[in-house]
Structure formats: C-alpha cells, structure tokens
Amino acid sequence: MKRMKGTEIFVECLRREGVEVIFGHPGGAILPIYDRLYDAEIRHILMRHEQAAAHAADGYARASGRVGVAMATSGPGATNLVTGIASAFMDSVPMVVFTGQVPSTLIGTDAFQEADVVGITRPCTKHNYLVLRTEDLARTIREAFYLARTGRPGPVLVDLPKDIQLSECEFEYPEQVHLRGYRPVLDGDREAIRRAAVAILEAERPVIYAGGGVIASDGAEELRRLAEIGRIPVATTLMGLGGFPTEHPLSLGMLGMHGSWYANTAISRCDLLIALGVRFDDRVTGKLSEFAPTARKIHVDIDPAEINKNVRVDIPIVGDVRRVLSVLNAEMEGLVSTHGTAAWVRKRQQWLAQIAEWKRTYPFRYEYDERVIKPQWVIEEIARITQGEAILTTDVGQHQMWAAQYYRFKHPRTWITSGGLGAMGFGLPAAIGAWFARRDRPVIAICGDGSFQMTMQELAVVAEHRIPVKVVILNNFFLGMVRQWQQIFYNGRYAASDLRVSPDYAKIAEAYGLRGHTVRRPEELVGLLEQTLLASEPVILDVQVAAEENVYPMVPPGAAITEMILGPLETTAVADSKESIA
C-alpha cells in the first residue's frame, strides 16, 4: 500500500478504468484535480460550457460503447451540467460525471459556489455519491464506473469536496465491487424464451419493435439474425436507428409520431409484437389502447421496471437484449428446421407481401422544388454521399426528424440524438465527443438554427483541436417544430417561434477560424456537400431551406398511431389504400 493524495487516486482510478479523455470545464473547487491532470496522460478537452461537456461525454459513450466522462466545478459548473446528465439518463447512456464541491467543512453553510449537487441530480442519475473521506474515493470511483456501464446503463455523479481531493490516505485499488442492492439480470429466463420462440412460430403477422436497448447491448447482429430466421419485419424507434439497416428488405424504418405510415400500420395490424429494448414511450405508442391492439406481446428489456410499465405484455423477458436474442435465435433455428424452411416461407408470404405493398403505397415522400432547398433532400444527399458510413448527431426539432426519416442507416452507434429528453443544442457537442471516440468515421452534426444557437460556442473546441466535424445547419429561420405545431394546432399563430433575426453562421465560423459556407440555391447544394462532407477539415454549412416545410407523417399527440396527418402529396393515396385494407 502506498500513501496517495486524493487527486492522485483520482487519476490512478481513471487510468485503471481505461479513460482516455475527459470533457470538462474548471473552477475553484475542482482545481486540485485539474492541477494533477496538467501532467497526466489522460486527455482533457476544455469545453466552453458544462452542458456541452456532458453532451460530449454522451456522444463519446454512444459512439464507442464505453463510459463517457464529464467534469465541472461546484455550484454553477455543476448546475450547468444538469441538462446533459438528464439527457443521458433518459437515453440510458453510460457516463460518469465528476463535480468539485466546497470543502466538506463548509458544506451546508451557503459557501461561495455551493450547490446541493447530489440533491439536484438525484432524480436524473442512476446513482450519485458525495465523497466525505479520501479513504472512500477509490471505491466510489470504481462503483461509479461499474454502475454506469452495467445493467441498464446511465449517468452516475461523484461529488468531490475540495479537501477530499487534497488529503492523503493509503491507496488500495478495490478489485471487486460489492453492491448488495444491485444485481442486474442479464440472462433471460429460458422457459420464457422458449415460449417466445413458439409464439413467433405460431404468429401470422409478427412485427419487431426495436429500440435503444439493441444498440446499448451491441445486439444489432442478433436482431438481424432474428429478423431473417423468423422472416419478421423490423420497426425501430428513434433511439434504435442504426440497429437494423434501413435498406434491408425487412426494414420498416422508424415508427411512432413521425414514423413511417407503413411501420405504424404494420404495428396496428400485427398479431405478435416483439418489443426489444424499448420502453413503450408515448412518442412511439400514441394512444396506448390502440397500440398493437390485437397483438400478443413479447417484451425483452434489461430493466424489470420497464416491463408492464405502460403496456401489459404476455411474455416478459428480463435480460440483456443481445444475450436473450442469441438464445432465442438458437431456439428459432431449431423450430424452423423442424417446421421446414419452405413451409416457413409460405407462412410469412402473405404478411410480407402486404407490407411490401404498404411500403409502396406511402414511402417517406416530399415535393422536390427547384427554387428552394428542401431539407429532406439535404439529408438524402448526405446519405448518398456518405453511403450511410458517417456518424450523425442531431439537435432537436424538425431537422432531427428528417434526419431520422431520410438517412440510410447501416450501422449501430452511428446515430446519436437526444431522444428522451429532446435537448436542443445536443448536436455539436455530441459530435465533438463522437469524434474522440471514432476517428475512422466522418462525423456530421445535423443542426437546427435554433438549437445550434444554444451551444454554438463549442466551435471554439472544433477550432482548437481541428476536429473535422461537419456541421450542417438546416436553417429555416424558425423554431421549426414549434412553428409546425402552431400551424397545425394553434391556427398558425407563430408565437415566439420566428428566428428571422439570426446571425450569419458562415461568418461565425470564420470568426472561430473555421470554414463556413452559406447555401441558398438548390443548384449549389450537391457540389458543396460533395466537396466538404468527406474533407479532413471542419466545415460549417448554413443550408437555408424551405422555411415552412412540415414533418410528415405526423400522429397528433394522444391520437392512435394510425391516425396520421399525411403530407399534402399523400392524402388521397392513403385514403384509397385504407379502404383496401379495411
């Protein structure tokens, strides 16, 4: 055993966790740790706002599958982190967050820059700690990383009073973690899995509803096997995009509020719903009583609290999605071979033919325009140029939904968006984090003009490290999603959603020493995207798009997912095909 200072213990524990990079912002209460980091091997990236530090750690974690680390000082530093922590919590992202705290002797005295950070973050962390003895530091950091990445992943916060960082103690690294109240179940119940396999065999019209749990468990390969063995169409949630290739014949794309008409229709008509790593979120289900109303339901999730939370299911399976699927797939292979592959193909023929017809009836569609750039087209071009090989991060709003609808996803961990919390300003910092995780893929931040203005100061980080992210602002000079709701539900009264007074984003890029372009005319777009998207330099593109374009289809809040508001192009086509279904 060796006597070590708190700051040395901190660095040593992070080294043992394999941390390569910390996203943070300093201040008085965390200065001892910063001083120690000054000559440590772990990289620290100085973000320009703590919210961005948390989002960057989130982007890093999602792109890599490893634990992201964010750090800030006490008081305002810590409170600035909260949005990023809450977003990671809603999206089950493994993250450890360190905050400085006033010296333990001053806690509770309203000291300068004191905030009750464990109190503030209790409802938006998986767990959190206030360390009151340097002797507890190593064990606490060990537990924090363990909790963040195991079971249902999530952010864990560790609050570090200044005196704890400075005092010394004997250092012993805790090899084992003992948490008697924490025992995640990874392997699903064999009997339940067998029942699930039989249910799939018996089903005439099964659909898979796949979510973030597929990505988090690295289960995309097993999902693909299940779909192919069972010949089952797959709809993914916003969080599940990338978990199943968009261009796969069995893909239904995204379901839910802005999901595809055919995905929502298939869900409503299926006789078996196979829900994998999902939480039956209201943006997905619409009116609950009409979500897959006639289907038996299988639900696989690592978190027992998700089972029967919003929807009662027939076959619950608690476990890690990838592990459960690998057992289920083995079971399915056995059943299919006894059943005979030909019979199996015949059994699914009608359902798959029906779905193929629905996909033709109403694909995602928009009206191309020669005079003005359509935002959907921008995404299509990005998908074409990158061949689905890029990592996309997004802000929140219409552009986020268009990216989800029109990008052609190929790989898990290439789609990083603030799904559950829907935090504007997520895109740029998340892209920075993603680049530190995966230097082998182009990283593109699809931003909204409103959202971008919430974290655009992070261009300084892009400039400082010459991070070759591409920022594509789908600039409609509106808080577009708000404007869309106002148009549809509030008689077109655009209260506080107008962004006509906006900065010149290309000049902002220039001010940071970055390349920026403004694109107004359709004929300029493709060439510019082709020149810049795969370049090794950072680029900021202000793409000025049709201002009052809407995201369709759309399920009004509270309506059944089949009651979609359709785009101006489609109303008749769908009305016709509805009759043919009925």
Partner: protein, 157 residues
C-alpha cells in the same frame, strides 16, 4: 387500499431521499414511514405504508428495487407480518374519572407515562385496529393530543 412495504436499505446519507423522491416525483402520498438501524448497523429497516392499487404498487416496487441503495423490498399483508405501532395519547383528566380512566387503559395494556394536574399521557402499542379502538374509547374523556410512531412491520417466520 393501504399496503405495507418492508425495505432493507443501505444505512447511508441520501438513501432515504432517493426512496422518498420516487414517491414525490409520482405524486404518491406516504401514509406512514419508519426507518431505523437493524441488527446489522450498515442496514436500515424501513416500513412504508401507502394507499395504492395493485398495478401502481407493482410499478412502485420495481422502481424501489432498482435503486442501488435498496437491498430488498417486499409487500406484506397482515397475515404475513407482525405489525406494531406505538401511540401516545394526552387525555384530559377530571377529578372524578381517574379510576375509570386507568381501568380502561389497563384493558389496552396502556401505561401512564406522564401525570400532570389536569392530564395524563398514555402509551400503547398494537396494530391498526387496536389503536383505533383505543382512541375511540378515550374520546369521551377529551383527547388533547395524539401522536403515532408510524407502523413497523417484520415478516413472520
């Protein structure tokens, strides 16, 4: 319907806040709550009474179980658990009623723990029914104050 939850919880700062936070965030009222150390000083025993239907209760139990600080959580009914509550009752004492009052206290095995010129404080333990009956009986003397400890419960066997 009133339900009793028994929890074994890490005896650490923040554990109680984390647990009660689950209730308050969902607008669930806690009817009673007791916490104290157990035979193992690192563990607290918690008894919580809530008014919930089966579905809401099932969800709540899973959320409690998910907390890192919660080691075990069980829902018990009166048949499966021994339940006790302590009640202190301050009652008016008029000169002519003393004997009768003490006799009635005796019936409940209540003890007099404070004597003042015009009032007594009685202490009694028991389950819900007994305590309710106790209060009813003493109403006629004039109850000045009642305080209850909240229920503690221990699974049988």
């Amino acid at each position: 319907m009133l339900r009793t939850l028994i929890l074994r919880v890490e005896n650490r700062p923040g554990a109680l806040a984390r647990i009660t936070g689950l209730f308050s965030a969902r607008g669930i009222n806690i009817e009673s709550l007791t916490v104290a150390r157990t035979e193992d000083p690192t563990l607290s025993h918690m008894t919580i009474v809530v008014d919930l239907d089966d579905v809401a209760l099932e969800k709540l139990v899973k959320l409690l179980d998910r907390l890192v600080d919660v080691v075990t959580v069980t829902v018990v009914d009166t048949r499966e658990a021994v339940e006790r509550e302590l009640l202190l009752l301050k009652v008016r004492q008029e000169p002519g009623q003393k004997l009768e009052l003490l006799k009635e206290a005796e019936l409940f095995r209540a003890r007099v723990v404070d004597v003042a010129p015009h009032s007594y404080v009685l202490e009694v333990t028991g389950d819900e029914d007994k305590l309710e009956a106790f209060i009813r009986v003493f109403e006629k003397y004039g109850i000045l104050e009642v305080v209850r400890s909240g229920k503690v419960a221990l699974a049988r066997g």
